[in-house]
């Protein structure tokens, strides 16, 4: 790297060699390790990593309407409504329990910054990240995903990845 002046190939030729090498590399069949680095998108797709923040899935039955996610959202893009109702007692003969029932859970992806704070603060494992990314819409209003739409994303949520050596087990999720 030391720039010692000694006779060397002119930089102009070296540059031509670099482009020619890449040309040959791209023309080489895929089987031999060549080919372009690009992916022909609608025909073939890359798989995003497990942790990729694509879209948020909702496990409705876990939600206790605690409003933590709504209140920690920096963008104010989550809207929750809920009501209390009586549920049958756990043990026979017990008093009926009061539970919070979710009426509305909307996330406005037009506002969302994909920061993940809501997923992080949720204490009841009700919302998760899914790496799914194909949900663009021609109309901006359609980016507001309601409870059922968010519930459907739940099917695409992967298991959390294994951790690198030396990591401590994480509590919670």
């Amino acid at each position: 790297m030391g720039r010692v002046r000694k006779p060397q190939i002119p930089g102009l030729l070296k540059g031509l060699a670099v482009t020619a090498r890449t040309l040959a590399e791209t023309l080489k069949p895929k089987k031999l390790g060549g080919g372009a680095v690009t992916v022909q998108y609608p025909h073939e797709k890359e798989t995003p990593p497990i942790r990729a923040r694509g879209v948020i899935g909702l496990r409705e039955e876990n939600c206790t309407v605690c409003m933590l996610c709504v209140r920690s959202c920096p963008d104010w893009c989550i809207y929750i409504e809920g009501h209390k109702e009586l549920a049958p007692p756990r043990r026979a003969g017990g008093a009926p329990r009061k539970v919070n029932k979710l009426d509305r859970f909307d996330i406005d992806y037009a506002l969302c910054m994909y920061c993940g704070i809501c997923v992080e603060v949720c204490p009841f494992e009700a919302i998760f990240w899914s790496p799914e990314y194909e949900f663009s819409e021609p109309r901006i209003a359609d980016l507001l995903h309601d409870m059922s739409r968010l519930g459907e994303w739940m099917e695409t949520v992967p298991e959390a990845p294994a951790l690198e050596a030396g990591a401590e087990k994480k509590k919670g999720k």
Binding site: M67, R71, W76, Y79, I80, K84, E85, K98, V99
Partner: protein, 225 residues
């Protein structure tokens, strides 16, 4: 004209024997400033192993910059800005618009190295060879907020003063070109003053205000398991 260029004199340095500043060095800086500025050095705070804050009078603002540059060796200009110490009358915009606004303290408490006025300009300059920085503050009068410009001392202060001028409404005497930098020229108000409302947080109510609808005829707050 051909300009000869150095080619072989490129230098690299490896991880040093951390010649990092001690607090004694910073005390020396305070002493120098006291010598040069006298009574215009109003206050200072030296946090051990952290940093040095000094407060000078508004009249000595430019002189302080010159002393820091020439006598203390802080020739690297880091930034210049201002602080409005008035607590925001709007909070974080999370109030319920249907309720009367909550009581908020209007007490002005200045930070490190004290202060007497609502607004302070502050700047930071660094000594690159001895690796320490100084944060210098000055009070600006409430009725006519203005200090002398630093442009003659640190050329880089130009843009920072323009920004501070439009964001806080603080004047800089002797600045060559105190135009708006970010805002349109006819803009009214000074956005970074605390009493300037942030409209983005006013146009819709906070979704977090909503709460779980209680059971009919039930007053208790906490339900659930």
């Amino acid at each position: 004209m051909v300009i000869p260029l150095s080619d072989d004199s490129i230098s690299t340095t490896t991880t040093p024997a951390a010649a990092l500043p001690g607090d004694a060095l910073r005390e020396g800086v305070v002493a120098t400033l006291r010598d040069e500025l006298g009574a215009d050095l109003l206050d200072h705070l030296l946090k051990p192993n952290d940093d040095l804050w000094v407060r000078v009078s508004a009249g000595a603002w430019q002189r302080a910059g010159r002393v820091l540059r020439d006598k203390v060796g802080c020739d690297f200009f880091c930034f210049l800005s201002a602080i409005d110490w008035l607590p925001s009358p709007y909070g974080r915009g999370e109030d319920d618009p249907t309720q009367p606004p909550p009581e908020r303290s209007t007490e002005i408490r200045q930070g490190y190295a004290g202060g007497d006025t609502r607004m302070q300009v502050f700047a930071r300059v660094v000594n690159l060879t001895k690796h320490f920085g100084v944060t210098v503050k000055a009070d600006v009068a409430d009725d006519s907020p203005a200090v002398d410009s630093w442009v003659g001392v640190y050329a880089g202060a130009n843009w920072h003063e323009r920004e501070t001028h439009e964001m806080f409404g603080i004047g800089f005497n002797g600045h060559p070109d105190l135009r708006n930098m970010y805002l349109p020229s006819g803009f009214e108000g000074h956005p970074l003053r605390k009493d300037f409302p942030l409209l983005a947080r006013m146009i819709k109510p906070w979704p977090g205000i909503a709460d779980v609808e209680p059971l009919p005829g039930d007053d208790s707050d906490e339900g659930g398991e």
